[in-house]
């Protein structure tokens, strides 16, 4: 590739003392603000297009050109060659020309180039697409690293145990529950389907895959997302306007980071999370480069693609939303700029707002909800996650017998009772007692099917005991009953003792037995309404599934309530059940409904179809996910060798063993390529310092960069630093357990920052010679490659006794060696 010599060009812009924003610039120099050093650098590796930039009109007729100018005639739309045409049009009559010249849009990122004319020969085609050759080569290399020996370990590695299992549920179509949104796991299921897996493997951690599980094919499909990271990294760097050397460095770092590599080679969600994080940044940088062509087809395309990516990344894991914040902040800044543009018409303002709302808010939400809709459509059989959902939803699952249970609830029925609040569970008790308060038997809310969820409805103490032979007494509004726990025969009880977590409520416990008890075991049934029958006045008998009830404690007047506060370890992290002294009729956490219902004396119900609205189920499941996610707090009682703290990550204090460490199996260790992690972290520390120094120099009116160059520098710095910060900082304040792989999406921004700073200080520096740049580039590229090669075993699998592999413990804290 032929490169022009940038030194001669750099003479063009100026000595620092001359303000570059003079109105006469365009009269003297053909394209004043465009020929920056960085752009020269850029175009030097894509040399064939240079001529066309100078003569933008040669490929279109005058009519097209005029339309084009018109189309991009938004007040802010003054790309470099539009600018020129504006001047042709206005022919110097424009009174604002001078002001506008001083407000030449400070475009940053990749220079916009007109599309090339169709190729007439193969040679010309190759000439036109020369710039795509490096990414193609990188992609091929990436295929090798990602697929090499991918089936080496025939065991269930690390979280394959979870995500493989969830994938199986889609194949078996059984409803399950998990804290992550469904898209990623559906793709795992799809991968299983494509590779011919029947879904009947348990994915027990560390177990060998049986012959009928095509785990290699599934891993290969997952690894494709990992392969795509490399070209995405390359093109993102191109779109961010980096020089060719910096683009190569970004691609090399994405290709050769052991952490990104190893996480992409198994059946995990992380490769998809990374992929959609990368696409979001890529689409977003593409969109940024369209900023002076508002509402052009490309502009719409990349805006919508950004929104689509956001939707996907958030549907893989919620942490994907952090990257959304970057796009959000950018959009706010962008709209603020537009808001200050007094020449823009109100209609255009509204269109800008509308476009953002539609593409960046509505579209992602639609994508997210679609993934849930598919989730519900696929999983239509009863499975292990049923109890997380509302009773009505469960009644619709194939294989669930709720609908066949007797319709009307009577005294003597054996029932399970479901809390109606979002994320509510089943009323539960077990033989363990409270270590605090009354020390009586615990009552909790539990989300899984268990016979400890069964309760019998019994009459009051002062009434004759329940007689199976007596006439059936149906339950009505206002009835006073006891609830007897079937497996322990104790009665649901409350008393004026503070509840263990929510101290200002009364504790609810299980007390006595079938003969011992007091009037604090008695509860008044209050009907709220019925989903099928409607208002309270229409409800005469209480129906299973549909009637919403409240249980009022007869003597204390408090209401039975479960509101997702989690008990400590002694309560097995189940949900606390309390008796709320306040009567809040609108509080759905005090609403309950009868879910399972067994009464041999009553006729079985008709299998009816209860409809359960999608939006309700969607919301319900999301709240349940949120609740479980919040419950994943670090447990001081449980020692977790795998977990790490966010401040361990940037300097790679800890790695993570992804599988058993015995001599006879390939061993995988989640650890980045050290030079990439350390280098990128150092660049992140340097970037604010550099920025402050430049700002201080600007405050003293030293001109280090011309405005366009500065704008570009600021833009890339902001994207990399704010992106990194938004992905990293939430983990610091998050209460939940964190692992080193949470840093992997964050690392991308750190890598961009490293490439950007190298680009700024070395590759596009005017003072350095080509030779120096070559040497710096060579040394860095070689170091990255050498370190990768040194640590490649961590991703490709280390055979044999680990202690025989020498020189991997670069930091004492890594537990690579036994």
């Amino acid at each position: 590739m032929k490169r022009s010599v940038p030194d001669s060009i750099s003479l063009d812009f100026g000595t620092p003392e001359v303000s570059p924003r003079t109105s006469s610039d365009f009269e003297e120099i053909p394209y004043p603000p465009f020929t920056t050093a960085s752009n020269q650098q850029y175009s030097s590796w894509a040399a064939p297009q240079r001529r066309e930039e100078e003569l933008p009109l040669h490929y279109m007729n005058e009519e097209t050109a005029r339309r084009r100018v018109h189309a991009s005639r938004g007040p802010a739309s003054t790309g470099f060659y539009d600018e020129k045409q504006d001047q042709y049009d206005d022919d110097g009559k424009d009174v604002y020309a001078k002001i506008r010249a001083s407000k030449i849009p400070l475009s940053s990122g990749r220079p916009r180039r007109p599309p090339a004319p169709p190729a007439t020969s193969i040679g010309e085609f190759i000439q036109q697409n020369l710039e795509h050759i490096p990414p193609i080569i990188y992609t091929l290399l990436s295929c090798w690293t990602r697929f090499h020996a991918i089936g080496k370990s025939p065991r269930v590695i690390w979280d394959e145990a979870h995500f493989g299992k969830f994938g199986s549920h889609y194949l078996k179509r059984e409803f399950y529950f998990d804290v992550h949104p469904p898209l990623g796991k559906m793709i795992v299921g799809l991968a299983g389907l494509l590779s011919g897996y029947d879904g009947h493997f348990e994915f027990k951690s560390g177990e060998n895959y049986p012959d009928n599980v095509p785990y290699v094919a599934m891993r290969v499909i997952m690894a494709m997302f990992g392969v795509a990271l490399v070209p995405l990294g390359w093109y993102t760097a191109v779109e961010l306007g980096m020089s060719w050397r910096a683009c190569h460095l970004v691609a090399l770092m994405v290709l050769l980071d052991v952490g990104w590599l190893v996480i992409s080679r198994f059946i995990l969600l992380d490769s998809m999370l990374l992929f959609f994080t990368f696409t979001t940044v890529f689409c977003f940088s593409k969109f940024h480069n369209q900023q002076y062509h508002s509402f052009s087809p490309d502009w719409w395309l990349w805006l919508a693609m950004t929104g689509f990516s956001i939707g996907c990344v958030a549907s893989i894991k919620w942490v994907g939303l952090f990257v959304t914040a970057l796009v959000g902040l950018y959009t706010i800044e962008d709209l603020w700029e537009k808001f200050g543009d007094l020449r823009m018409s109100a209609r255009d303002q509204a269109r800008h707002w509308g476009a953002r709302i539609a593409c960046l808010i509505v579209l992602p939400i639609l994508v997210y909800m679609t993934s849930f809709k598919l989730h519900f459509l696929v999983l239509n059989h009863s499975g292990p996650g049923d109890a997380q959902m509302s009773s009505l939803f469960q009644a619709n699952l194939v294989g669930n017998d709720f609908a066949r249970a007797p319709l009307e609830v009577a005294v003597g029925s054996k029932v399970t009772i479901k809390n109606f609040g979002y994320g509510g569970g089943l009323l539960h008790s077990h033989v363990q007692s409270f270590p605090v308060g009354s020390k009586q038997q615990q009552v909790t809310c539990y989300h899984y099917k268990d016979e400890n969820n069964d309760w019998t409805i019994l009459p009051r103490w002062d009434e004759p005991p329940y007689d199976p032979e007596a006439p059936i007494r149906f339950l009505k509004d206002g009835d006073v009953i006891r609830l007897s726990h079937v497996s322990t025969t104790r009665n649901l009880h409350s008393h004026p003792i503070p509840a263990p977590v929510t101290k200002h409520h009364h504790e609810v416990s299980c007390y006595g037995n079938s003969t011992v008890g007091d009037n604090q075991d008695q509860w008044v049934v209050e009907v709220v309404d019925d989903i099928k029958l409607g208002k309270k006045s229409n409800v005469d008998k209480i129906h299973a599934l549909t009637t919403r009830l409240r249980f009022r404690h007869q003597s204390l007047g408090c209401y039975l309530r479960a509101a997702n506060s989690i008990l400590p370890q002694w309560g097995f992290k189940q949900v606390e059940v309390t008796c709320d002294k306040e009567d809040n009729p609108g509080d759905t956490h005090t609403y309950w409904n009868i879910e399972g219902h067994v009464n041999p004396r009553l006729p079985a119900g008709e299998p009816r179809y209860y409809s359960s609205p999608f939006l309700r189920d969607f919301w319900h499941l999301n709240v349940a996910m949120m609740t479980s996610n919040n419950a994943l707090i670090p447990d001081p009682d449980k020692e977790d060798i795998l977990a790490s703290k966010p401040y361990d990550w940037p300097f790679m204090h800890l790695g993570l063993r992804m599988c058993g460490w015995s001599d006879d199996q390939p061993k995988y260790y989640l650890l980045g390529t050290p030079v990439i992690w350390w280098g990128s972290t150092i660049s992140l520390i340097l970037s604010p310092i550099v920025l402050v120094v430049y700002l201080m120099r600007m405050q003293r009116r030293y001109v280090d960069m011309e405005p366009r160059e500065w704008e570009h520098f600021l833009y890339v710095t902001k994207v990399a630093f704010v992106g990194w910060f938004l992905q990293y900082f939430p983990y610091l304040i998050m209460g939940r357990v964190t692992y080193v792989h949470h840093y992997l999406p964050t690392l991308y921004f750190a890598v961009l920052m490293l490439a950007h700073l190298l680009d700024h200080f070395v590759f596009t520096a005017k003072r350095l010679t080509e030779r120096t740049k070559w040497i710096v580039f060579g040394v860095i590229a070689f170091t990255i490659f050498a370190t990768f090669w040194w640590f490649r075993g961590l991703a490709f699998g280390i055979d044999g006794p680990i202690n025989e592999h020498w020189g991997l413990g670069w930091r004492k804290s890594w537990n690579i060696y036994n």
Binding site: W336, F339, G340, L342, P498, V501, K503, H504, R552, Q554, G557, E582, D637, E639, I641, M696, Q699, R700, R701, I733, G735, S813, N815, N818
Partner: protein, 775 residues
Amino acid sequence: MSGPQDIGIRNRGKSGPSSRYASSSGSPTDDLDDDHIAATHPRDRSSIEKLLETEEASVAVVATLTLMAFALRFYKINHPDQVVFDEVHFGKFAAHYISREYYFDVHPPLTKLLFGLTGWFVGFDGKFKFDNIGDSYTENHVPYVGMRAFPAILGSLTIPLVYAIMKESGYSTVVAAFSAILILFDNAHIAQSRLILLDAPLIFFMSVTIYCYIRFRKLRYREFSPEWWAWLLATGTFMACTWASKVNGILTVVTIGIAVLIDLWDILDIKKGHSMDFFWKHFMARSIGLILVPIVLYLWFFWIHFAVLTHSGPGDSFMSPQFQETIRDNEMLLNSLEIRYYDTITIKHKDTKVFLHSHPERYPLKYDDGRISSQGQQVTGYGHDDINNHWQVIPTKSLPETGRGRIVRNDDVVQLLHVSTQSLLMTHDVASPTMPTNEEFTTWPKDDHSRHNDTLFHLRIADSHAGASWKTKSGLFKLIHVPTKVAMWTFPGQLPDWAFNQQEVNGKKETADKSTIWYVDDVIDNADGEGQNKDQVVHKEPKSMNFFKKFAELQILMLQHNAGLTASHPYASGPFNWPFLISGISFWTQNEGQKQIYLIGNLAGWWACVIGVAIFIGILGADLLARRRGVEPIPESVRNRLWNSTGFFLLVWAVHYLPFFLMGRQLFLHHYLPSHLASALVAGSVFSFILSETINYPISIRGPSTRPKPATRADLGLKGPIILAIFVLILFSFYLYLAPLTYGTPGLTGEQVNAKRLLSSWTLHFAAKKTDYAA
């Protein structure tokens, strides 16, 4: 805001974008042409304004306010004569200063030192230890009124300070009084000020700091003059006091820091025409006044703290052995013996305080979860003294017959012999009973050498140099297994019945973990008999330790413990609730007479403050939006006042409030009090802005080279005093209504309690049962 539009857009024509720069006010050259606002010449003001702005009127107002502040804060200060809420801590700390016993707390020492000083001054002997809420002061002869008077005085003096801050910032007497009464009649400030708590001094010092900084800023055209230096140094001094009063005081430092950075950034601006030398001069002055002086003071407070607390006390055990040896009569200092080989010792785990124990019972072959054990002899942690806790230290190297060569030293490889079963401690690659990831600890018969290697342990003494001798109590150590590199470890987890529910001991792979630390509790038997006579060592002199090392150690501990205060508390509340007074804190209750103290603010006052802050943020937002669209609705000088003065108050509010959202520790309503004071300042200036667009201008003191500017004077007219009077009435009635909860007297009947519950989320005691439940 029917303000003068014509002025608003006056300067559009000539310099569109550049007007942005004019907003950074205060240079001698700019904003001179902004003065023909609808303002009033000093002579044209309404008569009531003229009257109120006189020196005499101002003094009269502030004197009244101060007197009332003292009255409200000292009213029945002797009630209750019992320990209330956190007096249990801070009273105790004061007692420790008087008895000079070392204690540990997460807060810096200044306020507690002052409490100690007050206590000493009023004759408190330090014997009473404030053990429980509700302990009687009168029965224990504690001069508690004197000790409570100290925060009450500072809390009362905060009122004139608020007034002065507003006055110095250029607001009318009426406005200054408005801000002051928001604090004056506030039940939360009152309740917090009349008890032995840190918050009243903290708030006082914070107010002084703000006041000094404003005085300093007003002298900005007379830089480097003596009074400029004086106010700069005063700012630094009181900033240090705030910081040293309570950990939260660091937020005041951050506030001033941000303000100073903005200030310096303006000085750096080349448009102001200053040279770099001039900038560096400013920079150095602030470094001295606001960094160096506060740090020296802060260190000095700690120096006093260490100098006073020279005797052993409850805080010893928090500190490192080196530190403890500097404390007189410290157990570690007294009982620290060197251990020699063949001594019989007992070993205790540092965190859980259990002895390393073993007994002839064996691990069951198969556990409940199906895993298999080695069936070796059990090694457990046991809380009580027992002969089975005795271990003998066996050397792995040849020893001299006598002398110091027999002392066990750091990095030695040792074996531990369980005395009663004559077997050696060992571990191996077998999963422990409850944790598959950790190694099982067991023992091996002494005479069977087949597992010799597994019985070897490296002795690593914490924070020690190679060859340091191993001592009882002070020699904290880790025991690292030689072949498998695990550390002996235990945790509060019970083994099942087969091990008599004793605590599990196992080998942990993370040897760096702090919970793997053990210490030798005692030397039971001195094998070679030549040993140390315990009676001889009683009169050891405390060792000395570098002050900075002590300081650093204490600071780190304070930070760690502060972050560790995560236990739930029934009256803890989230920061969202605070400005709206969603819930308070029950400080004290007394069943007899149904009395209680409940920390809750003046509902009307707090909501006025919240509304003030909301309006102000709204004004800023509207101003930004309008200017973005080229409209300038607020005259330049008023806008400068809003951004620079009220903006500073808002900064104080935000910096003292928002960080709590990020904190994991337990939070209480009283953490908002500093912010509440700042919000009262904001509310005052919003009050002024709404009533009138006139301001007192200029308020900065003219320097030698400042061009004279036409002065304008604020004029609120008659409506100011009238609205103020109405406000006083409202606030005072709310104050009176809630007073029984604030002063804890008189007692309330159940119905009265229900009536006092202005928000249903307030969890008061002695509420009457609702009787309308039909059974």
